[in-house]
């Protein structure tokens, strides 16, 4: 779900960069000392996740993990995803430098949305938490597809057609991501619950 260079028009690229910069600024402001390491580890996971390809129909999709990144980081997902996408663009030629802003918004905005929607539920009972984690993984991919289709409106392609195609291509990813998110959350609940949202950060 990376938009390549040369696809989008100038205004779409610039507004993407502005939104990404704003989100990253908020994320940096909320990133305290004790969460730097978490942010880096999740950024690295996100960076590697897109190498896991899932062939679907005429296209190929890959794992995104932006749901779990958002759930564990909140607004800090923006800088984490920005750095990971920058490195993907430089090293793997995924996406591109001019589209970095747009791609960051596509991945990180849904991450922040699912954080606000699902983080209160993660501390509830095991069944609720699992359901919330699955929803978190799946919904973030769906929202990413919607943001991506929205950013493609400004080019020649029609919104409904593109969003249908993007969503259809990513339905398997939604399911896979949901399962992975549920697995991660159930694991963290047992092993390291302090990483999950809702635990009071140590900084006063």
């Amino acid at each position: 779900m990376h938009i390549s260079e040369g696809v989008l028009s100038g205004p779409a690229l610039v507004s993407g960069m502005a939104l990404a910069a704003a989100g990253t600024a908020v994320g940096m402001k909320r990133l305290d000392y004790d969460r730097i390491a978490h942010t880096g580890i999740l950024s690295a996971s996100f960076f590697v996740a897109s190498l896991v390809h899932v062939p679907v129909g005429p296209s190929s999709v890959h794992l995104i993990l932006n749901g779990i990144v958002g759930l564990l980081l909140g607004w800090a997902a923006f800088p984490a995803i920005l750095v990971a996408l920058l490195l993907q663009a430089m090293l793997f030629q995924f996406g591109g430098i001019t589209t970095l802003g747009v791609n960051t918004v596509i991945m990180a905005l849904p991450a922040v949305v699912v954080y606000h929607l699902f983080s209160p539920l993660i501390r509830k009972g095991p069944a609720v938490a699992l359901g919330a984690a699955f929803g978190c993984g799946a919904l973030s991919v769906l929202l990413s597809a919607a943001v991506m289709a929205a950013s493609l409106i400004f080019t020649q392609e029609s919104f409904l057609e593109v969003s249908y195609a993007v969503v259809a291509a990513n339905i398997p990813v939604m399911i896979i991501e949901g399962i992975i998110a549920a697995f991660c959350v159930s694991f963290l609940r047992r092993v390291r619950p302090s990483l999950l949202p809702g635990s009071a950060p140590p900084s006063g």
Partner: protein
């Protein structure tokens, strides 16, 4: 308040690091759908692949000349390939887009194009290799048969050149294809390099953050669990 100021200087430094990274030259040709096009005689072949090696099926192909005029449009087949007759000797930009924001391009430079589709006679090039190969291999036979030298003399130098180029195209095609595949593969070096970059940034951020707030930083080790070192 003080903590907020410290963090903002940290952020500024991280932004500077990221801005420096943006300026590195390798960033210029970044795309995920890679396109490769090569010339064979008067025909150009285009191949589009996703980074996983999967061919771009039914991708939209647009060929433009150096002036930006659209010359040819088409669609890739099941193997992700598309071939077209070269209409004119000019830099040809081949853009393949697969929808959903995936797009890649490749430029065939004018000096790679040796023939334009109308001018090249196909048949002499087909027969020429046989004559050219036969003449040096069996000189004795050639002298015993008087008509043979005449036949090879009738082959114009231009035709021999065309034949050699065609044969070379055929031999080099797998090599070129291999090089193109290599270009789009993701190597382990790059993966670990990227992870290293991220951990390096974490290190820079942690160092700057710890240096900027020594008072609260000295309290921190008590708050952290032992697992934080991992």
């Amino acid at each position: 308040m003080k903590e907020g100021n410290d963090m903002s200087t940290l952020h500024r430094k991280i932004v500077i690091v990221m801005a420096l990274l943006l300026l590195t030259p390798c960033a210029a040709r970044a795309h995920r759908l890679s396109v490769f096009a090569w010339v064979e005689g008067d025909v150009a072949h285009v191949e589009g692949k996703f980074s996983g090696g999967k061919p771009v099926m039914g991708g939209e192909v647009i060929v433009t000349d150096s002036g930006g005029n659209t010359l040819i449009t088409g669609e890739t087949d099941d193997q992700g390939t598309f071939s077209f007759q070269i209409p004119r000797k000019s830099d040809l930009k081949v853009v393949v887009s697969a929808g959903m924001g995936h797009q890649g391009d490749w430029t065939i430079r004018a000096d790679e194009i040796e023939a334009v589709s109308e001018n090249l006679p196909e048949t002499p090039a087909e027969t020429a290799p046989l004559v050219a190969r036969g003449a040096p291999a069996k000189p004795a036979e050639a002298s015993s048969l008087p008509p043979a030298p005449k036949q090879s003399a009738a082959v114009a130098p231009g035709e021999i050149q065309a034949a050699v180029e065609k044969a070379l195209d055929k031999k080099l095609k797998p090599v070129i294809r291999m090089l193109a595949d290599e270009r789009r593969a993701v190597s382990a070096t790059e993966i670990f390099g990227g992870i290293g970059y991220i951990f390096g940034l974490v290190g820079v951020a942690a160092y700057v953050a710890s240096r900027k707030k020594p008072a609260s930083g000295s309290m921190d080790p008590g708050d952290k669990g032992p697992g934080d070192e991992a």
